[in-house]
Symmetry: C2
């Protein structure tokens, strides 16, 4: 027990060799709101020349709190006062009473990583992990000294961020959004706007009708579920896409990108370590990160690389059964289709098999379908909702209880509007009660950004034939699509032509996930540098060519195999040639 009163001296432990000088205390008196001489419960006794000099230095030290404290301690020892560090812990959450008088106190310690929610510490998100962070450092270095590296720019192939790589936004979208932001333009004479050649008539009309749906301003909160008129557009889009299988606006939630939808769904179903969520390996690490935050279990099911990263339903069922045996409830099953990072697109049969397992075990399915507009020739996308409805028709009673949440986003496709945060989820088989719970969660974040909601409307209702923007819009889409295909195929063929790297043929999405078969010497050097072999390859690739990718470990892979994920969004084919040269040199250097 310690007691302190004004002017007492005491020794707490041997490590404190200085005597603590007490502070004079003045009671707080009310005062005018004049700054900066406020009276507070205490004042310092020191006003030495050293302190005055020190105060000038302080702003620089304030940058890092720990430096600041070190500097303060230094100052205190300069002035003969003892370090308070050793005492601080006493005041933190004292189990004993520090009897204070006149409001003197010892400042408690800061909160540190030790105080942070462990779930947050555990969560990892590699897409913006170590290699991309290194790329940022190199980018900054190039800005200072453009000649200092063997390349002149960083190519961010680590993230599906098309417009960062000079992909142009679709003109129609941006005309509409521009008009929504500045409705004064809509008060102008339509013909004058059209004659200015800045806005097309159909864009003007769409902006006006959207403005009505929205209620008059993109600056007002909308309903938390999203603007009703836009949800109707989404439902119509889904119905048409799914060959007439009806979708209802009540089942649609507009969200700030698909990531927000994942967040809601996992918040709702994750109850802690006894909850299991099946995720494909390799996966998009949003899922494992969110599971870590929710302190729930990831149940990985491996995709089969050799058959184009296909999904194996027996694998899924095995994982489910094992979870049950381990008393973990396999509550949710995540399917990413088209796959990220794999680029695989599921056949109707695969989807049906997945639903069998879901129906049998009562597992909610999350269908992450954000890449459904990124499909390569020769492949057809079938939505999981459509297949579910077919199964329900064909096999009455078997699939009626299946609960499915299907996600889409304006970040991908050919629009690539990642920074606008538009998306939606469609809930199938969720009761009104369950939807109300999700609505409540959504209401705590108030509403998704309204311009993002508008963008969803544009995505699901693009210009149609006969409308003024149709032809140019089609031309823009085709151009982007063709370039993506060309780059994807070039990269794919390049990988397969080189030794030590092979790749499954992409069917969709924006990524390749090649397997790297590193020579033993390279693996040794990686270990020496305390990197995994895939990190090592990615690091070398970055430092030689400026191409930033993400090691396969960020997505999960069969133990003993090494991959990396790259996008094929960067314009041109030059960077692919650079990669090819680098790879050959790398293997020349490390070949056994």
């Amino acid at each position: 027990m310690l007691s302190l009163s004004a002017k007492n001296h005491f020794t707490v432990s041997n490590s404190i060799t200085h005597v603590i000088k007490s502070y004079h205390i003045r009671t707080l008196t009310s005062s005018a709101e004049k700054m900066p001489h406020i009276t507070t419960p205490f004042s310092t006794s020191a006003s030495s020349t050293k302190l005055k000099a020190f105060r000038k230095v302080r702003p620089v030290l304030q940058r890092h709190s720990s430096s600041w404290i070190v500097a303060q301690n230094h100052r205190r020892s300069l002035s003969g006062q003892s370090s308070l560090n050793d005492l601080r812990h006493l005041n933190r959450f004292p189990h004993h009473t520090l009897k204070t008088s006149n409001n003197e106190f010892y400042p408690a310690e800061q909160l540190t990583l030790e105080d942070v929610n462990e779930n947050v510490l555990k969560a990892k998100y590699a897409v913006r992990g170590a290699i991309p962070m290194r790329a940022e450092e190199l980018k900054a270095q190039l800005e200072k000294d453009p000649q200092s590296l063997p390349f002149d720019r960083i190519i961010n192939a680590n993230i599906g961020n098309p417009q960062q790589l000079q992909q142009k936004p679709l003109t129609y979208y941006r005309q509409v959004l521009s008009l929504l932001q500045y409705p004064e333009l809509l008060n102008q004479n339509e013909q004058q706007l059209v004659d200015s050649k800045l806005f097309k008539l159909d864009a003007i009309k769409r902006a006006k009708s959207l403005m009505e749906d929205i209620g008059g301003s993109v600056g007002a909160y909308s309903s938390s579920q999203g603007v009703e008129g836009i949800r109707k557009s989404v439902a119509e889009f889904i119905t048409k896409r799914d060959e007439g299988e009806i979708s209802y606006p009540e089942d649609i939630f507009l969200t700030a990108g698909a990531s927000a939808a994942v967040n809601y769904l996992l918040s709702i179903f994750c109850r802690g370590p006894e909850t299991g969520v099946l995720i494909p390996i390799p996966q998009y690490p949003l899922y494992t990160a969110t599971l870590a935050l929710n302190n729930s279990q990831a149940l990985p099911y491996y995709l089969d690389e050799n058959s184009g990263w296909s999904t194996n339903p027996e694998e899924i069922e095995t994982v489910v059964k094992e979870a049950i045996q381990n008393e973990i409830k396999p509550t949710v099953l995540v399917v990413i289709n088209p796959g990220n990072p794999t680029g695989a697109v599921l056949s109707p049969e695969s989807i049906a098999q997945i639903f069998e397992v879901a129906a049998k075990y009562g597992t909610v399915v999350i269908a992450d379908e954000v890449y459904q507009e990124n499909i390569f020739p020769g492949t057809k996308f079938h939505s999981m909702k459509k297949i579910l409805r077919h199964l329900q028709r064909e096999h009455p009673g078997k699939f009626d209880n299946v609960q499915l949440a299907s996600l889409h986003s304006t970040s991908k496709g050919v629009s690539g509007e990642c920074g606008q945060r538009g998306g939606y989820m469609e809930l199938t088989g969720f009761s009104h009660e369950m939807r109300q719970v999700i609505l409540k969660l959504a209401s705590i974040s108030l509403c998704p950004v309204v311009t993002g909601q508008a963008l969803v409307d544009l995505m699901v209702r693009p210009p149609v034939e006969g409308e003024e923007s149709f032809e140019s819009d089609q031309a823009e889409r085709n151009s982007i699509h063709e370039k993506l295909i060309t780059r994807a195929m070039t990269l794919y063929e390049t990988f397969n032509s080189l030794e030590g790297i092979e790749c499954q043929k992409p069917q969709g999405a924006m990524y390749l996930f090649p397997k790297i078969d590193l020579p033993f010497k390279a693996v040794q050097e990686a270990r020496h540098l305390e990197l995994t072999p895939d990190e090592f390859y990615c690091k070398k690739l970055l430092e030689s060519t400026g191409i930033c990718t993400v090691p396969g470990s960020g997505f999960g892979q069969e133990p003993g195999t090494y991959h990396l994920r790259t996008t094929f969004l960067a314009p041109g084919l030059e960077w692919i040639k650079k990669w090819e040269s680098f790879h050959k040199e790398f293997f020349d250097q490390y070949r056994d």
Copy 2:
């Protein structure tokens, strides 16, 4: 134990009176991707006329999953098959093995509210609660039949959503955002754009410079911490606002509104029931909702109504000590200044006293300062950051460890851009390590909406004297400000002139939180209707006048007292007169 094989019949319990007919199973074979005749592991045996007729009815029933199942069961009993309901639970998480052959299975039950994360079920957010939901119903009713109610429109005084109530956005902001959305406009000849009288020159220039900061497109993901150039603007704004106390861009995080910042901060520090977060009562219910989601404890500290809802530091310290005694760690202290719902603005002394407690106990302070631009004449806003720096200067060593997160938003002030989701937090006293943890959390959501980030830049760097938009921008701001003041004062004076309702004088924010002293008869009727008295008053108010408010219980209040929160955003003064009439009639009806 049950075993099933093809064509077996069995009875499970007395309640199953029908015999289960087995299904023929066909092994899945690969097939062309032709729809809809996919082969699946099993097929139904039924294809009766009744079923075909039923299928036409099905789309309507699909709307509600439970109706769908009922319909299916009905169909099955029509065709002589027994209900599968009673068997479903067996397959859910079977502890025994259901030996199946040929992939037949019984569908498991759906997940229901019983399976939902309890924390989500517990969370409440009253701002969009029962009374506002009733208002939405009445709104829909008015759309169908405008004469059916004693009022012609709903006035949403329940939410701080200015642009929903015809407050116009600031022209300068919207010109810049419009240009950012459609950069083609920036490629035009500047003079021509100006001559069109649609865009002012300073808006064009700002859009160009922001576009450079952003990196070329609002459609690309930005860095997760937010565009660097915009963070610099924020740091400069804070430094200037705080009389030269330096703010650093590294300490700034741009966020999707202040709500996202609260979400990050509480995720990081909430570790479960042993974590306590002090919140003011009354509070903005985002805090209690988020605490419920994080399964941590709210530690309420009561604001003092009779002294204008001031903060009592002794009350705060008492709450802290009690928490410690109950083995709850008082980790975070939330201060809402200006207050929501109270409208109170803290004096420098009050702030200093709050920091004393924080410094003494090592509690992180969240300063929710989103209403700092909504200050009434005669009141001055002092940021908590500024006061902290003063305390650190005046009392070296005492306050060095204090950790503070200060929040701001583009949703309030005179811009009222709620739907655009712009905001920031400034971290003071957080080490680099701690900032990295927050950065990681932010990266899981990728980035805040980029146009919202741009709006933050506009908020902290409005047009200045000499620039083309300055005068009109000032005029717009003053006009909005004056109208807000007029309505606030009118409402305040009206409340205080009536019996049974009294109100503290607002110093800032967008709300009044009057206390209602209901007559006993009214309290009785409320209880009869199973409503709290404040809900009852709000419901009556809504149904008589269309004015939608939020009962005080949504924000917290001293037990035995009743309040409601209303905004003063609705245009004009007519609705205030309506309220006055309603209140007099209400008291005439219920007076003892």
